[in-house]
Every structure is written in C-alpha cells, then in structure tokens.
Symmetry: C2
DNA sequence: TATAATAATGACTAATCGGTCACGTGTCAA
DNA sequence: TTGACACGTGACCGATTAGTCATTATTATA
C-alpha cells in the first residue's frame, strides 16, 4: 500500500467522525503514524486530499452501478440489484459515505462543488438508463421524475440507517422500494421534469480524471491481477494511453476484454469515458 | 429591531454563502456594522447564535405546517397545500434554508444534533397526521413509509431548486407530487417501516424551548397585534406563563382564541406544546 | 564500504480563530 | 455640572491552523 492510500484510508475515519474542517492535518498524520512533512510529500494540500477522496469514492460507486447496468440480463432484478448495491456499498464504506452525506453541499471551493455536480450527473445518467431498460417507452414522459424519485428514496432511507442504527434488513427495504418505483412508473401521469428542464440543468461533463491518474489505476490493477488475456489487455491499454497508436476498433476490443472483470470495473468505466465509448 | 434580530438576519446571509465554520465572528460583526464586543452582548458564543437560528427557522416551519393541518377542511387540497408551503417557505427564506440543507448532519456538538432530531420528529409527526387525515385507514400498514417518501420527494426536488436556478413552477411541481403520493398510497403493499421500527427510532421529545423564550415570543406578538380579543388572550397567556394560576380549561380556551391567528401561529404552536394540548 | 539520492522528520512560521476586557461614548436623573 | 449606568468598542490573548524547510535517517548504487 502506498503512503497516499494509507493517508486516504486513515483520514476517512477522522473526517467521518469529525468533519473536514474539524480534522487537522496533525491529527491525520498522527493517526497514520507519519510526520506532517510526509503528508505534504503525498498531497500538495489538505484540499487535494479531499478531492482525491471524492474522486476515489465516487468513481467506485459510479463504476459499480455502471457494471450492474452493463451486465444486466434480468429486467425484474436490475432495479432490486441497483437499490441493494446502493445501500450495501454505502453500508460497507459507511465511513467514507458519511463524509459525503455530511458535506454534500459544503463547497470549500468551486472545484469541489463542480466535482460533486459531475458525479451526480453520472449517477443520474446511470439511473436513467436503468429506467429506460426496465420500463422501455412506457415511462417516456415521466422518466426524469422517476430518476429524482429514486434518488429521493435512496437518500431518505439512507439517512435512516445513519441517524439511527437500524437492523439492516436491506432485502425487505429494496423489495419495498422496487414496488414503490414500479407503482410510480405505472401510474403517474403528471411530470414535472420535462426534457427541456433537464437540458437546462445539464452541464458539460468536463471535470474528468487526469490521464496520469488513469495510468496509476491501470498499474494497480495490473499488479493485482494474474497472468491472463485481461492483464495483457490492461498493459496494452496503458501503453495506448502513454503513446496513442491503436485504432478505435482495437481499443474497443481491449475494453471488451475487461468488461466483465469485477476487479477492474472502475478502471473499465474510467477508460470507457476517456475513450468516449458508448 | 433588536440587536439580536439584526445579528441573526445578517449572519444567515454569511452562513448561507460560506457555511458555519468558514464564517468568523469578525465577519458577522463587520457585516452588521457593529463591534465584536457587541456581538457577545447578544450571544454568549458563536454556537449559541447557531442554536438560536435553528430554533427560529425550525419553529417557523413546524408551526406553519401545524397551522395548515389544524385549519384543514379539504382533504384533496391539504396535501397540495402542504407541498406548496414547503417549497414556497423555503424559497422565501432560501438563505436560512440553505444553511440547514448544507449543515444538516453537521454536528458541531451534541446539542445541535439532538435539536435537529427533535425538529425532524415534529415534522414527521405533522406529515403523519396529514396522511392519516387524507387517507384514513387505507394506508394503515404503509403510512410510515409514506412519511419518508414524502420527505424524500421534498428533499430531492428542493435540492434541484438550490443547485440550479430553475424557474419555480411550484404549482405543477406540487400537483405532480400529490399525484405521486396518491399513487403510492393507493398501490403500495410492501411496507419497510413497521410500527415497531418507528418505536425504536422515536426518542423522547425533551429538547423544547425555554419558558423565557416563549415569553419573548408572546411579547413580540403583543407588540405587533392590534387591540382585540386575541391580544388580550396573549397577555393573559403570558401572565399564566409567569405565574401559573388558571385551570386547563381556561388555558385551552385562550389558546383557541388565537388558533386561527396567522401572525401568532408559531407562538400558538409553542404554547400548545408547552401546555401539552392537542 | 562510500557516496548519492530519496524519504521522512518535527520545530517553526504566519495567519486566523473565538473570546475577553479595559476603556470610550452618550444619556439619563440629581 | 456631576456621577451612575448601559451600550458599545477594538486591541489583545491563548489556542489552533495549514503549510514550510533545514536537518536527519534510510535506501540504492557503484
């Protein structure tokens, strides 16, 4: 584990229990067992750490959802799986999730707020494709409202688990939410969010991840994965990033090779976005 | 306007645009055009200001909702009116509302977090009575879920208005939400939140408002209201607070006198809670 | 083993914070 | 005119902060 990863993991614990502002760099370094100077060897500033944490957690979440959608083959199950993934992943990474529930709209600076917008839009895009896949054209006019209702369900019930330590019967919860979603999809007729409104809201998705970061992600995957077609594909994709040479068809093919690889789902998602596929 | 009110109003603007921690007492006093010392004549600490702001805004909101429920006479309209009230009041007090969206779960201290829980429960209670009034026994098993769904709707669409400056067609939005609520009430069969779970969550509602604060609220109402039965009732209620003497029947009667008085709705609500009526 | 390169340290700085307090300033009644 | 009093002031305090940098420890290389 690199020092960077250590700092990220340890700082999450502190941020979650105290909040950003209330946690000093001193506390973080003590909690890591390193010196203050070592911190600034890994991160230029405290803000950079925060941005890195957001990137890490949100990419993890977004790519998990994307993986679910891409590999879906059961319309009835997809929505359930999606809900379950949301609650389960947040439950497992409860500390890091807690940060983002706490500091959702806390804009330390413009960079942070635009980052959150960026990831929010990615998630909305995923939910929309779930809806379109599950309900086809039957929700043509109400699908955008449906996206926001689903987000509302998740947000509200999520808070319940955070505020009070409820016994986590995610199965019942998700079945209940799937039913609610189905009911809304089937019976609502009055939309609020029209295509026009959505277009107004949409902003250019330009806050992507830097090429160097992607390369680092690939390298980490390469280290963890065993000798295989997938590993070879990753190596080739990394070379492509460093020195573009291959045709789009070849790149697409390499991506397809790691498409179903769970360990690489985040890398796959990032690469897909980077090369503008889909 | 007292100095206290001035500070509260001006500080809201700063808190809304920067957050609590990022706003210094220095900034607040400069923005008010007063000195740092003058601040500490009105408030013991920065935290006390924050608590006062929360009390003010939440009591305003809760009592508005309560006023709506108490004076309701049209089942079909109540839900619409409720949604409209939420969006409209938040829209009007957008700056103060923004604080609570931002710092929802930001616990500077335990007092703040328990205060937020307290007000959350009051709102949930109001929503529950709306549901019970509108849908009778037809939602016996799903009514608690309905409460959380309604909260989810409000929260999610509210953020939409904050993040992006949407043209505020509250009428369409509320009609759309009423339909969604009706659909859920009519068709959902799988509850997640049972009576038992709700009981587990419930906490004693003991974070009320101090007697001195109530007296101050009454005094302010007395100043603003013209000579009338209502004013006389307020004066008598104030005396009752200072020196308890009247029977419960008499107090209840005095409260009834100001029940429909819009200007006093917060005071009415607080007094009702104080004297344990309803 | 000797030397160069890199990683890590923690005392230090400058700035900012919430909060205090000795000191005006203006307004009364006596 | 005087003195009592409340209101208001801003320089000041100790504590804490993010961030720096001269110094030391460790590792790699020759």
């Amino acid at each position: 584990m690199t020092k960077k990863q250590l700092i990220m993991e340890k700082s999450i614990e502190l941020f979650a229990s105290q909040g950003f502002d209330a946690t000093s760099v001193q506390q973080i370094t003590e909690h890591c067992g390193i010196s203050k100077g070592a911190f600034y060897l890994s991160f230029k500033s405290k803000d950079e750490l925060i941005l890195a944490l957001i990137d890490h957690f949100m990419m993890e979440t977004v790519s998990s959802i994307d993986y679910l959608v891409i590999n879906a083959n059961d319309k009835d199950k997809l929505l359930y799986d999606f809900y379950y993934l949301c609650f389960d992943s947040v439950n497992q990474h409860s500390e890091s999730a807690l940060i983002f529930i706490k500091e959702q709209t806390h804009h330390l600076n413009d960079e942070l707020i635009s980052k959150m917008h960026y990831y929010n839009q990615l998630i909305e895009k995923s939910i929309l494709s779930i809806i379109e896949y599950v309900y086809d054209d039957t929700v043509q006019y109400t699908k955008y409202d449906l996206v926001y209702c689903i987000q509302g369900f998740i947000k509200t019930y999520m808070e319940l688990f955070f505020f009070y330590n409820l016994p986590a019967d995610f199965d019942t919860l998700c079945k209940s939410l799937v039913e609610k979603t189905n009911v809304l999809a089937r019976h609502t007729t009055i939309p609020f969010l029209s295509q026009n409104l959505i277009e107004m809201i949409k902003q250019p998705l330009n806050t992507g991840i830097a090429k160097e970061q992607i390369i680092q992600m690939i390298e980490q995957d390469i280290d963890e994965i065993e000798e295989s077609i997938e590993k070879e594909s990753l190596i080739l994709l990394k070379e492509e990033l460093e020195r573009p040479a291959l045709s789009r068809a070849l790149i697409k093919g390499l991506l397809e090779n790691i498409r179903h690889q769970v360990q690489c789902k985040t890398t796959f998602y990032v690469l897909k976005s980077y090369f503008n596929f889909e």
